[in-house]
């Protein structure tokens, strides 16, 4: 084997990605074994394609892991990561998941809007809150009242 002489050190992140794909393959394979098989006769049972997906993921995961151990592939490097922005954005998404069924779409959406704006370096949270609220009301009225989707109720929805 000649290999790539210019890259030798193990790329840990890439290796982790490969291992992650292998883990997904394991989960898919495990869940495939629990699919019930015998109910209705079928020439190609319900497990054939799941096994194919599991095998494909396993082979690709192994190849990615090997690639990672041999120095990885080209992609964005983690030194440039803006953890501050990413943190605000993830906080917004988490708060939205936690609050949306408690305070409703408009209020939770406004919080998400403010956090997202903050992640993209906005320094005016009050302005963002006002715009987010307006947008939320417009979206809610449009979907719930005009199009007739049932968006559900919440703190602000009750007032409309």
């Amino acid at each position: 084997m000649t290999g790539e002489p210019n890259r030798s050190a193990i790329a840990w992140q890439d290796t982790l990605v490969g291992l992650g794909v292998l883990a997904l393959a394991a989960i898919v394979a495990w869940q495939t074994t629990v699919i019930p098989e015998n109910a209705i006769y079928a020439r190609v049972g319900p497990k054939v394609f799941p096994w194919l997906a599991a095998t494909m993921l396993a082979v690709m995961g192994a190849m990615l892991t090997i690639e990672g151990l041999r120095g990885g592939w080209e992609h964005e490097e983690s030194e440039g990561t803006d953890w501050h922005s990413l943190g605000w954005l993830l906080l917004g998404l988490l708060l939205n998941v936690a609050l949306i069924s408690v305070i409703g779409f408009i209020a939770a959406g406004t919080i998400l809007f403010v956090c997202t704006a903050r992640a993209f370096a906005s320094a005016r949270p009050l302005r963002d809150a006002a715009i987010g609220l307006a947008l939320g009301v417009v979206a809610y009225v449009g979907f719930d009242r005009v199009l007739g989707y049932k968006i559900g109720s919440g703190l602000i929805e009750r007032l409309l």
Binding site: I40, R43, V44, M56, E76, S85, N96, F105, G132
Partner: protein, 496 residues
């Protein structure tokens, strides 16, 4: 041929009713507006706007869709010329050359050649659809399940392994998509698969959740994480008039035609991909140009050709989608799932069963193209305003609409959690350079491939060899294998 023209005339009869004209107009207008917004491509626009269409009948919905489809293409080129955003790979070339033109005060000419070129290519592409649909359908009627299965294998290989930077990463994305598509009750045997004890999952995952998760949530996370390293992009003002000089015209018309001639056939092949024709067009124009030294500094041919190629290939993609039921781009896959939700199966029988829908759709592509030409250039000031929406508000709005477009519609908490989880997966995929389109294509095509495989095995009574003994199926499978291992063997031979 006369038959085709007759049906097209009837199609115009459908498309030219005031109501359908209105849907077409709304489609191109909304499509352009959303397409202009940086970070929103055609696939995400259609996914986000799907809920709007469920409230109208199928014909109107698909007229609306096709308007959005062509509209986002026009809007996207405005963005790449005025704001050099490396987003969709198909518009990279336009961004390269068009942005250079804009920087040298020729934004108006660049926008004009892109818009008129898109119109020329879109019209040629639509003519192509008109006359190619029937022959492809006739060919497809000879296809049995075995041929369909093999054709899908070929499409799988080309969209994931051949296009894109790495076959391994492309196939990983595809396998992930196939897995997502398998979630839910198996329609043939009634067995639940991969439902992890969660009731909502037994109905399967909605493709909208996956598309919006990958393209809206994932993309926003990706852009937030690279804020520090990315240099802020500035919108270039349009200072010159939006028209072309005599020289611009004479340098543009041939690239338009050559771009269309490249883009449509490549787009119409079951392989798909708009990158190849745009890059090919760029290099051909560079070769043929009397002023090759201008390339890289804003040559008008480098905008005219690739833009035409991009639009013609977008039209070409509709041929396998409508005539075979085979989507070869993320956008086409989402459109296919929209067809399915109306209980319509695209494919050779669609043209016979629903001629009004198909020909109405094709006719409205012609009309939408004219509308786009008229709409785009005079309204450029409006689109520039949309480009100037500050990043914080733009991405806040995108996430809010992503939430209401998924959770709001289904009222399913599981969908919301899935949306963000898939968004996070999309973020990792973007960071580690995995293509995202194969996820959507695998998710939609995977179950169809399984269905055809089962039918083929039922017909052959479980004999796998039909896949290799029927000549058409064998040829398609051979092509798929060649596309998969060919490049590797080639590389190994070159290295020697």
């Amino acid at each position: 041929v006369t038959d085709t023209i007759l049906q097209l005339v009837q199609g115009f009869g459908v498309a030219l009713t005031p109501v359908n004209l209105m849907w077409c107009f709304i489609g191109v207008f909304v499509g352009t507006a959303v397409g202009v917004l940086p970070g929103i491509g055609p696939a995400l626009s259609i996914a986000l706007l799907l809920p709007l269409t469920y409230k109208v009948d199928a014909t109107a919905a698909f007229i609306l869709f096709s308007g959005i489809y062509y509209g986002t293409m026009y809007g996207g080129s405005t963005t790449s010329i005025l704001l050099n955003t490396p987003g969709e790979s198909a518009t990279i070339v336009t961004a390269m050359e068009g942005n250079q033109m804009a920087k040298r005060g020729r934004a108006g000419a660049a926008l004009a050649t892109a818009a008129i070129g898109s119109f020329v290519a879109g019209t040629i592409g639509t003519i192509g659809i008109t006359f190619l649909a029937e022959p492809v359908v006739n060919l497809a009627l000879r296809f049995g399940p075995a041929e369909y299965f093999s054709l899908m294998m070929l499409a799988f290989v080309t969209v994931s392994a051949v296009l894109g930077s790495s076959a391994v990463r492309g196939l990983t994305s595809l396998a992930f998509g196939i897995f997502l598509g398998l979630i839910g009750i198996d329609l043939q045997t009634g067995q639940p698969r991969f439902w992890f004890g969660i009731t909502e999952l037994s109905d399967g995952i909605n493709v909208i959740v996956v598309a919006v998760g990958l393209f809206a949530v994932g993309e926003t996370l990706y852009l937030a994480a690279r804020r520090k390293s990315a240099e802020p992009a500035a919108v270039i003002e349009v200072k010159d008039s939006i028209w072309m000089s005599r020289e611009d015209w004479s340098r543009s018309w041939k690239p338009w035609l050559r771009g269309s001639a490249l883009g449509f056939p490549i787009g119409a092949m079951p392989a798909g991909g708009s990158e190849i024709p745009t890059f090919l067009s760029y290099f051909i124009e560079k070769r043929l140009s009397p002023k090759p030294e201008e390339f890289g500094k804003g040559a008008i041919e480098g905008v005219a050709g690739p833009e035409a190629a991009n639009n013609a290939s977008a039209a070409g993609v509709l041929v396998p989608m409508l005539a075979l039921g085979l989507p070869t781009s993320a956008t086409a896959a989402i459109m296919l799932s929209a067809f399915q939700s109306y209980g319509i199966t695209p494919g050779p029988l669609l043209l016979q069963q629903q001629p009004a829908l198909v020909w109405g759709l094709i006719a409205s592509l012609y009309i939408g193209n004219v509308m786009l030409l008229v709409l785009n250039l005079p309204l450029i000031a409006l689109w520039v305003k949309m480009l100037k929406i500050p990043e914080p508000l733009l991405y806040g709005g995108i996430l809010m609409f992503a939430t209401i477009g998924t959770y709001g519609i289904s009222q399913s908490y599981v969908d919301l959690v899935l949306l963000y989880l898939i968004g996070f997966a999309g973020f990792l995929m973007r960071r580690f350079d995995f293509p995202t389109a194969p996820v959507i294509i695998g998710m939609i095509l995977g179950p169809l491939a399984e269905q055809n495989f089962r039918q083929a095995m039922t017909i052959s009574q479980g004999d796998m060899s039909v896949l290799f003994t029927r000549p058409l199926s064998a040829t398609l499978l051979a092509l798929a294998i060649l596309a998969l291992v060919g490049p590797q063997i080639w590389r190994a031979m070159v290295r020697r």
